[in-house]
Amino acid sequence: MNIALSQLVQALRRTLDDNVLPELHTDHARGQLAAVQDILGKLETMAVWSPDAMAQQIAVLLQACADFRAAVARAGVDLCLPYTPLASGDDDTMLNAQAQLINLSDWLFDAGANLARPIQAELNAILLQAMREQLFIQRKLIPLTDFGAMTSAASP
């Protein structure tokens, strides 16, 4: 999910052309591959990652940033937290939300290292919880991969 779907489809088509087509030995197989290429070419401009999942991730990350700032304020700490203004568009908003969380991580491991241990732990827990939720949302979309099938020879 760190790659645009159109780029992924392009990579699939390139592999089929460069690595699979030269090793096909029947007209039938070549015809089947041409059809697959045709469909992939059409999908290339249509496919996008789930907008719902994207919106959920953005919400989780931005909520964590707000909770983090509130916890720092509650602790009465007068430290200048980094702030990244929001951008428009889902992709940009996602990148922006990630950048905010990264900036807060930097702050916690740098200036935040001088805070009392309990508040440090609380802030770190907010970050870890948000990242965990973001990753759960991503993983829900991904079926298991059979790497065994990709690395086994037909006849050893």
Partner: protein, 357 residues
């Protein structure tokens, strides 16, 4: 600015193109006529390209037939750019270490002008590769699993006892220090995916957080040994319950031996089993390894290296995605690897959360 560099030779894996180039190289190395045949590419592994072939070498009246393995560091491969020299030097240094079977190493070349990429040639070793996720452990005889577990443990212990400073590796890794080997690895893998220079938002926040945590928590090593870097079930060959070779030395470096211990024991290599690599009883391994290697198993340091291991895995997965996105990937399996990133980072998150609790 005009690029005046000499264009690199394109890597072509077709035997018709590869064989004559390699033949010329081997004839110069071995000072004898050489005929190459029987080319076969193996699908195993995601990094170096592995090909098997036969070399017939004619020296005076003697004709020898050698079954060989050619490992090629594809410039577009998962961990590119590659160098074959470290793996060659390590294998050469380990050719006769008791309890540590490795392939016979013949030659290497880091000059891309020869075949278009660095390469290493070793002897072919008989055996198959037990994989945790294929459930092979349950299909083998119990006695075979026991002997494999014992030999796996002993091989790692033997590796970590090698006096590498007394070999040619002393020159290669002389700068390795106990207080920097952990951070060296963190920086190596952060650099691999451009985390230091890349636009920060393009990096998963969990990856960035892990890098900060690893930098802060880096332990001093009690000793600096040869670290295989990918020592696990899946990276050795076995025949009739005995390990015939420890493979895949491309990530070898000088470091803390507990890095190998932690890596081998990662849950991601156990296919849901509590055993190491789905094969080896953890307590038995710990007892036997510590006794044989003379290494103290420090739980907090092992936990640190488990986090580092997942950071390294995630860096490889990110690198795979970056190569697909940039159009440099020759192997579409890299795209599949990229889909594992969320699972790997979740496991990383779990380990860091447990470590700070």
């Amino acid at each position: 600015m005009t690029d005046l560099s000499i264009p690199q030779l394109e890597l072509d894996l077709a035997p018709d193109s590869l064989a004559p180039r390699l033949q010329t190289f081997l004839q110069a190395q071995w000072h004898a006529p050489v005929q190459l045949s029987g080319w076969r590419r193996f699908p195993a592994g995601f990094s170096w390209v592995t090909m098997g072939f036969t070399a017939v070498v004619q020296q005076a009246a003697n004709v020898r037939s050698l079954e060989l393995i050619l490992r090629i560091g594809d410039p577009n491969g998962l961990l590119a750019p590659y160098k074959a020299q470290p793996e060659y030097l390590v294998l050469a240094a380990l050719q006769s270490v008791p309890g540590l079977p490795v392939p016979l190493v013949h030659t290497y070349c880091d000059d891309a002008a020869v075949i278009g990429a660095p390469f290493l040639i070793t002897g072919r070793v008989a055996g198959d590769t037990p994989m945790p996720w294929k459930g092979n452990a349950e299909q083998r005889e119990a006695s075979h699993n026991e002997s494999l577990s014992r030999e796996f443990t002993d091989a790692m212990a033997s590796l970590h006892q090698v006096d590498w400073r007394a070999t040619s590796l002393g020159q290669l890794w002389g700068a390795a220090r106990p207080d920097s080997v952990a951070r060296d690895q963190v920086r190596h893998w952060a650099h691999h995916v451009g985390m230091v220079d890349a636009p920060r938002a393009a990096v998963p926040p969990q990856m960035h957080h892990a890098m900060l945590w690893l930098e802060r928590e880096a332990p001093d090593a009690e000793q600096v040994t040869i670290v295989h870097g990918d020592f696990r079930v899946g990276n050795f060959l076995q025949q009739n319950g005995h390990i015939t070779a420890i493979l895949d030395w491309e990530l070898v470096h000088a470091g803390d031996p507990l890095e190998d211990v932690a890596w081998a024991g990662l849950r991601v290599f156990a296919a849901g089993s509590p055993r190491i690599g789905g094969l080896i009883d953890r307590e038995t391994f710990n007892r036997r390894y510590a006794q044989r290697a003379g290494v103290q198993l420090r739980p907090d340091v092992i936990r640190y290296y488990e986090v580092l291991g997942l950071f390294k895995s995630a860096a490889m997965l990110m690198g795979a995605t970056q190569r697909v996105a940039s159009g440099r990937a020759r192997d579409v399996r890299m795209a599949s690897m990229g889909f594992q990133l969320a699972s790997t980072l979740l496991e990383l998150n779990r380990l860091i959360t447990e470590a700070v609790e």
